[in-house]
């Protein structure tokens, strides 16, 4: 069974639109970590955020915000006022405390921001 599901394969928006990337996860561990990475066309995955399972506070960093809801096993990522530079593939990942260094990645969501 897929531990991390990113149902949106590809999303296209026009610059300045807000966009939300969905991530649903599955785990039996009570302690786990959730991540978002950005992969621009250059290829290198860039770390965006890590949350642990005990911290359900939403996070905001500039135009980026994350909504962590344990009740729905979701960790969604919103970009406000999107820009062309936000065009990339975004990956959500899960790490469980029982195997701390093993990541389960979602299949990724490709975001196209058009001018």
């Amino acid at each position: 069974a897929q531990k991390v599901t990113q149902a949106q394969t590809e999303i296209s928006v026009v610059e300045k639109e807000d966009v939300t990337l969905d991530c649903v996860y599955e785990t039996r561990d009570t302690t786990y970590y959730l991540f978002w990475y950005k992969q621009p066309p250059s290829g290198e995955l860039v770390f965006l955020i890590r949350r642990n399972s005990f911290d359900e506070q939403n996070e905001i960093s500039g135009r980026y915000s994350w909504n962590f809801q344990k009740s729905t096993s979701s960790f969604n990522f919103t970009i406000t006022a999107s820009q062309v530079v936000d065009s990339a593939v975004y990956f959500c990942a899960l790490s469980e405390a029982t195997n701390f260094n093993k990541f389960y990645f979602g299949s990724g969501t490709k975001l196209n921001v058009k001018p």
Partner: protein, 112 residues
């Protein structure tokens, strides 16, 4: 800043060739990882090393081996490349007590 480098950005090899993909990190990280990335499948772990000469199989180790002779270097070896190993290969590293992984730029391998 952590720097993870990979020896080639693009590589073209023939079926049956032995292929070496090299990864070097400069932050003294104990953990190093090799992933392959395929459309619709995300990143899948091939092998993981938590120390010099130590390795563990990931989810898809078949057809691959690894070598970690020095702490900073982790090599992925395709003993006899096949067309189904055409993919993007990503290397990553991390500290054992911190599971944030730092990634290299990737090697896009094409096997003809």
């Amino acid at each position: 800043d952590v720097k993870v480098t990979q020896s080639s950005r693009y590589l073209v090899k023939r079926t049956g060739e032995k292929v070496f993909l090299e990864c070097v990190q400069d932050m003294d990280h104990e953990n190093m990882f090799w992933y392959r990335q395929d459309p619709g499948l995300g990143l899948r772990l091939i092998y993981f090393s938590y120390d010099v000469k130590m390795k563990e199989k990931g989810d898809i180790p078949e057809g691959y081996s690894v070598s970690r002779e020095k702490k900073e270097r982790f090599s992925l070896i395709l003993e006899s490349a096949s067309t189904n190993q055409t993919s993007m290969y990503l290397c990553a590293s991390s500290l054992p007590e911190d599971n944030e992984q730092f990634f290299g730029p990737g090697t896009r391998l094409t096997v003809l």
